[in-house]
Every structure is written in structure tokens, then in C-alpha cells.
Amino acid sequence: MMGVTAWTNLLVGASFLLYIVIAIRSRATSTGEFYIAGQDVPPLANGMATAADWMSAASFISMAGIISFSGYDGSVYLMGWTGGYVLLALLLAPYLRKFGKFTVPDFIGERYYSQTARLVAVICAIFVSFTYVAGQMRGVGVVFSRFLEIDVTNGVIIGMAIVFIYAVLGGMKGITYTQVAQYCVLIFAFMVPAIFISLMVAGTAIPQIGFGSIPDGEELSLLARLDGLHEQLGFTKYTLGSGNTINLLAITFALMAGTAGLPHVIIRFYTVPSVRAARKSAGWALLFIAILYTTAPAVAVFARTNLIDTVEDKSYAEIPNWFHKWENTDLIAWVDKDGDGRVKYRAGNALDPAKPSFLDDRGVSGERLLSNTPTSNANELYVDRDIMVLANPEIAGLPNWVIALVAAGGLAAALSTAAGLLLVVSTSISHDLLRKWLRPDLSDREELLAARISAGVAVCIAGYLGIHPPGFVAEVVAFAFGLAAASFFPAILMGIFIKRMNREGAISGMLVGLIFTASYIIYFRFLHPELDTVENWWWGISPKGIGTVGLCFNFMVAGIVRSFTADPPAEVMKMVEEIRLPEVK
């Protein structure tokens, strides 16, 4: 029988080989192919590519874990990150495709007839993409180190090399077709364990139904049983929220508008042949995303029930081996507060500070000792939320090849997103900064070379950030959505739907939205983290949801400034009329 490591090597190696073969077969030969894949990607393929582009290491590895630990409150991510596609499909994608240039700053720059607007858009795009990509590279390193015992640095370098090959050679064309393959790998890797576990615990192959239906011969569904366990152990009921409705609404809306405004997603809709194809393609994209996003809450419930059943009130020695394995990688910690040798899992942080720092010694039961102070509550267990997806197959006792599959899937998710983001960075530099601003006389061949070089440099910077992640990356990624919601989304939306919106209105709106949202976040997250509680928030809205308020300010300021300033030039208004009309065949 093959071990987990052998299986992981085999599956990861095979998937990497596949990506490289695709990359070599779809090299880009012009800027049109490098930026937008020659605009001949079929809607279905673009849907898959968009899904892989969108679903990052965070969606694949962390999301189910976040939901598992936050229950109903985790719904904001599920609705926010899928609902944004409705906004994208109805309000932005078809018109941007009709506009038919290369990048998002292209649209902002030409619609608002201003190089300043273009420049603001370029800076936003690069900032959002780099913070985001550092997280992906880190994800690659983490998967390598957990599953193949390669250290994080080497893991990141391997990941960089792969992305380098297909992003620099193939540009958007290479990325598109590798993303299609990566979607297949990641969805298979996510669904197989979920279906296995659903069959085992709920008696149905459909996880979406399994977590809430009553299995044959049982009295309670898994969800109802989990609610019961939660009440018994002193947690809030899994299906109930914290009750701060305004904040949940604000976060969900900010995530939706932010999703619709992310440049690496928007740019995918430039690659299809027509407006019709763009509309359909958005539907396919969300369908492919929904397969994972509706399964994730089921996985969250399976994993949480499994975890509680396996560890609660068990002695350290009788807990299965996965517990000890993940304890050895610092992701699980247990402190025997009452000295009875049994694990107690209750509400609240077990440790102070919350993250464990391990000592070299072992305790009486054989557990790793910690330098943290135990807290005064009854909880004895620390569990990192990322374990929920990574260890779920082991917890459920699934075969080795399924465990290995999860590693290949996590890598596919991280690499596909990283490549899409790097392309945004490279096109922003070679097209928006060089061709459209600094060196308008660049030939197509020179521009293509510049695009390749900037993609290469971007890969290296991303790799460096992955190996030496600045401490604020995780924070910033979460807020990239707020910033996109308060700047890009309103600017593009008004550019399409308000014909008389002018340069002055759009730029002042974007600046007010950005500055307000960024200051609120910086104040509560970096300057005064101790004040970051509901009593101090304006209107009870947390920094995560403040993008919604920033978006409203953006609209208001843009409207007011517009009414005092001159209409846009006639040719710009004509362009707006033009993008609203369907193509004539």
C-alpha cells in the first residue's frame, strides 16, 4: 500500500506536469493573446477559468474552517463572495466586454478622459493584486511543508517556478487553459472527501443535502445534533448568529461590491468572443464556484461534529493519531487545566495569547507543553481553523490517495489565483503605465517583451513576499474588498449607467471612498486595535463592512461634484451610448 507522501508526490507531480504541458502548447505571440487570450475563449471554458482564478488558497483551505468555527456568521463570506457575481454579470461584465480594451484602468482612463484617473486605477489594481498574491504564495509554501515536508521557502520557490513558466510564456492564453485544468483538479479534490464523508455520516452522496437531512434510522440531522452539542458545551448555537444585523448586512454588501470590483476577475470577461458570451460565461463561472461554495458549509458541519465527537472528554492517549500529528505541526494544542487527563472543548480561548507557543517538554499525558498562560475558562483546546479542510479526510479515516488529493487541490487553487493576479500587475505596468502613458511609441513586440519582463519581476516579488510575509498581509487581504467596493465598483458602475458622470465627479468620488475606507480601517486595525469593538464603531459597522459606507459616500460625492462641473465631452457620452447597445452581427 502506498503512503500519503508517495501519493502526494505522485498527484502533485502529475498535476504540475499537466500545467507545464498546457503552458507550452498555448504560448502567446502578441499582446492581444498575452493580455486577453486573443478574445476567443469559449464561455464555458472561461467560466471554469474564472472559477479557478477566483477561488484562492483561502477559499479552498480556510473558508470551510472559518464557517466551521463561526457557524451562521460565516454566511457573510458565502453570500458576499458569490452574490458579487450577480452584480458583475448584470452591471459590469457585458459593458466592459463591449468596451473591449485590455485592462480595467483602460476603461477608467478613457471613460473619464483622464490620465490621473487611469493612474489612480493602476495604483489600486497593483496594490490589491500584490497583497492578495502574497497570501497565495504563502499558501503554496504551507501546503508543501505540511504534506511533503519541504520547508516553506523551497515550497514557495517551486510554486514560483511553475507560475513563472506558464504566466511569462503564455500570458493570459496560457493562464486561461491552465486555470481550466486547475479548476478540474481543485473541484475534484474538494468534492471527493466531502462526498465520502457525507456518505459515511449522512448516508447521501450529496453533501449539500446531507448536513441538514435526517439520515435513515436516526432521529436528528447532523445540523440539529451539532446545535445540541453546541448548547451542551456552552457555545452559541451553530445556526444562530451574533445578532448584529447592520454589521452583517454591511460586511456582506462590501464583499459583494468588492468581488465585482476586483480587477483580476473583471479582466477574465475581456477574453470571451462577444457580449453574449460574457453574459453566459458569468453564469458558468458562478455555477462552477457555487459547487464549492455550497459544499463548504456542509464540510464545515461534518468537520465540526467530527472534531467534537472525536476529542471531547477523551483521554490524550485514546485520541486518534491525526491529533498528535497536527499537534506536532503546531496547529493543535491542549492544556490540561483540571488535571484529569481528558480533553475539554468549550467556548472561549483556551490560551493567553490565543496562539500557542510550544516548549520542548511533554506533560504527564504526553501532550506538548506550552509557554502560554491558561485562561480562566474551562476550554482546554486550541484548534487552528485551517485544519478543518486539510485534516478532514484524516479525521474521517479516508484512504491515503484522498488525503494526497487535498494537497494537489490546495496547490491548484493557490497557483491559479496567483497567476491571474500577476497578469493584472504585468498588464498594468506594460500597457497602462508604459504604452498608454510613458512610452506611447512602443511597438507591439516591445510591449509584449515589457509585459513578459514585468510578469517575471512580479513573480519574484510575490515569491519574496510569500517567503517573508509582512505581518499585515492577512489583515490587508480582507480589506482589499472594502477598498475595491469603495473605489472601483462605483466608478465603473457610474461610468456605464450615468452618462453625464464626468471626470471631476468620478475622481473625487473615488478619492473620498478610498480615503474614508482606508482611514477607518487603519484607525481601528493598526493605530488603535484596542478600540476595535462594537461600541466604538460608527453605526455599529466593523472595519470589514465599512466599504459599504465608503461606497455610499463615493456615490454622494460624485453626484454632488458632477452637478457643479461641466458635462463630459460629446465623444465620451457617445462612447457610453455605444457600450450600452448590443453588437450588431
Binding site: Y72, S75, V86, A89, T252, L581
Partner: protein, 91 residues
């Protein structure tokens, strides 16, 4: 020329009508059923299961509706595009 822009305006108005209808549904299922009304809906269960209804909309139902909305929009607009180009024939 004026006839042309009349057709164009009609097309745009129809488009806005479809968008407003679909976005209303979008907001009702997610922000409405999934969040604002969820505590009240939770007293009911999705028939045949033990999903509290508000919870189900937040973690499952709204996502299914989103997918359907996009496909409905694509289908409806692509048909409108056909009508529009038919109206433009004979130029």
C-alpha cells in the same frame, strides 16, 4: 437617425427593467431572507430537512438563486439583443 435612437432607448429601458427586477430578487434572498429576516424565518424548517429556513437561505438557498438569476439575465438579454437586431434590419 432619430428612429434608431428611439429603438436604442427602448432597448436600454427594457434592460434597466430586467436588471431592477433581478437585483430586487438578489437583495431579497440574500440581504433579506439570509440576514435581516433570518431570525424570524428560522422558526420554520426547509420541508423534509432540519435546516432552519433563514440559515438555509444564508448558506445554501441564496447561492442557488444567484446562479439562476445570472442565467435568466443572459437568456433574457440575448433574446432582447435578437429582437433589437431584427428591429435594425433593412437599414
Amino acid at each position: 437617425m432619430s428612429e434608431d435612437s428611439d429603438v436604442a432607448q427602448q432597448y436600454w429601458r427594457k434592460n434597466l427593467k430586467i436588471i431592477s427586477l433581478l437585483l430586487t430578487i438578489w437583495a431579497v434572498v440574500s440581504l433579506g431572507f439570509g440576514i435581516a429576516l433570518a431570525p424570524w424565518l428560522n422558526q420554520y424548517q426547509l420541508p423534509g430537512t432540519e435546516f432552519p429556513l433563514g440559515f438555509w437561505f444564508a448558506q445554501q438557498g441564496s447561492i442557488y438563486v444567484f446562479v439562476i438569476l445570472i442565467f435568466v439575465y443572459a437568456w433574457r438579454m440575448n433574446r432582447l439583443d435578437d429582437e433589437f437586431s431584427a428591429g435594425q434590419d433593412g437599414r
